[in-house]
């Protein structure tokens, strides 16, 4: 598996085989048979269905508050787990299980925050549990680190994308506004905040969106994998309710997605995302409060 990255274009044609069609019909029953008349592949119909469910869950969160959101995303999570078991081994199962991390992360990010804990530790708590979820998805699907883009790439690319990420931190700060991480003053507080942001924002989010979801999407949709990861990123950032910030996030996610697809590695996007988050959340609030 290590010699062929799933972030790179797939060798086989995306999921349009008769077996996938049959599996889709079995899984979705009458709805599947009715959709069979449409010209879309089972994989496209699957991701359209999952995407619309996730949008509904996110809308419930925004309209009903944290409790309703946790409930909606918990149901979504159980549905995706059941669907992944029903689909059986294959690329559609990989996609379903990879996308299941999204409602899991949303449940965590709605239930874990507490007023007594500084915001910087919210990132740590959510990120730790989220990374554990990603590792367990990798174990379940027998994915190696290389399969999710954890492979070497050129230093020049890492430095370039990292520098661009740092520059993009300024518009992110201006558009998204200031977030007080509550890490306190002093070098120790700054070092802890920097480490948490680099690992649990930069690494965690790129491993989820580009490493897990985009690689699963690339197996099924080829270039559509980038679109899938951008859609997932936008969905998870939509709670900001700031259209300019959401457009900015979509553009940055597209850039990182293209970089990951071209190189077959998520190391450069991790560097870019970590630099962006570090500038946006730690450096600029310090120098330009």
């Amino acid at each position: 598996m290590a010699d062929q990255s799933t972030l790179l274009p797939p060798v086989a044609a995306p999921g349009r085989s008769a077996s996938l069609d049959a599996r889709f019909r079995r899984t979705f029953g009458p709805l599947g048979r009715r959709l069979q008349g449409a010209s879309y592949s089972p994989a496209v119909r699957l991701i359209a269905a999952i995407g619309s469910w996730l949008v509904v869950a996110e809308a419930i969160t925004l309209a009903g508050g944290a409790a309703a959101g946790v409930f909606a995303h918990a149901i979504m999570l159980l549905l995706l787990l059941a669907l992944s078991l029903r689909l059986g081994p294959g690329s559609m199962q990989r996609l379903t299980l990879s996308v299941a991390v999204l409602p899991l992360v949303r449940v965590l990010s709605l239930a874990l925050p507490a007023a007594i804990v500084p915001i910087v530790y919210w990132y740590l708590e959510i990120g730790l549990a989220g990374i554990e979820g990603i590792l367990l998805v990798m174990r379940r699907l027998n994915l190696s680190p290389a399969d999710v883009g954890l492979r070497r790439t050129s230093i020049a690319e890492i430095a370039t994308v990292g520098a661009l990420g740092a520059i993009l931190g300024l518009p992110a700060y201006l558009i998204g506004g200031r977030v007080d991480l509550g890490h306190g003053g002093g070098l120790v507080g700054l070092a802890i905040a920097s480490a948490v942001v680099v690992v649990f924002v930069g690494f965690f989010e790129e491993l989820l969106f580009r490493g897990l979801i985009q690689s699963a999407g690339t197996v099924l949709f080829s270039r559509g994998g980038v679109l899938l990861s951008v859609g997932a990123t936008v969905l998870m950032y939509s709670a900001s309710l700031n259209p300019r910030y959401i457009i900015f996030v979509a553009l940055v996610a597209t850039f990182f997605g293209i970089v990951a697809r071209r190189s077959g590695s998520i190391v450069a996007p991790v560097a870019g995302h970590a630099a962006l988050a570090l500038v946006q959340l730690v450096v600029l609030p310090l120098v330009a409060p």
């Binding site: 787990l81 078991l85 990010s109 549990a129 367990l136």
Partner: protein, 84 residues
């Protein structure tokens, strides 16, 4: 990603230990964890095809939620300790 949600929930966070104990989001999370653990136990002892796959699939949710439960409990202790 977390900052977008933090802005959303920050105004509705429980402010006292009593409110925190009664908070619905953490309660739903614990209920979900119990549901998944029970399902995992049942699948583990049942003689079903692909039972091992099902257990590993449920682990994807069970372990992160267990970590979350540990954080929730430690936070509740942090909130209650000053009262003692």
């Amino acid at each position: 990603m977390t900052s977008t949600v933090s802005r959303f929930v920050i105004d509705t966070l429980p402010q006292t230990p009593g409110q925190a104990l009664a908070a619905a989001p953490a309660g739903i999370l614990v209920f979900l964890l119990l549901l998944v653990l029970v399902a995992r136990l049942l699948v583990g002892v049942a003689d079903v095809p692909r039972g091992r796959d099902a257990v590993r699939t449920l682990d994807v949710v069970a372990v992160p939620l267990f970590i979350a439960l540990a954080f929730i409990l430690s936070t509740r202790v942090l909130e209650i300790l000053p009262l003692g």
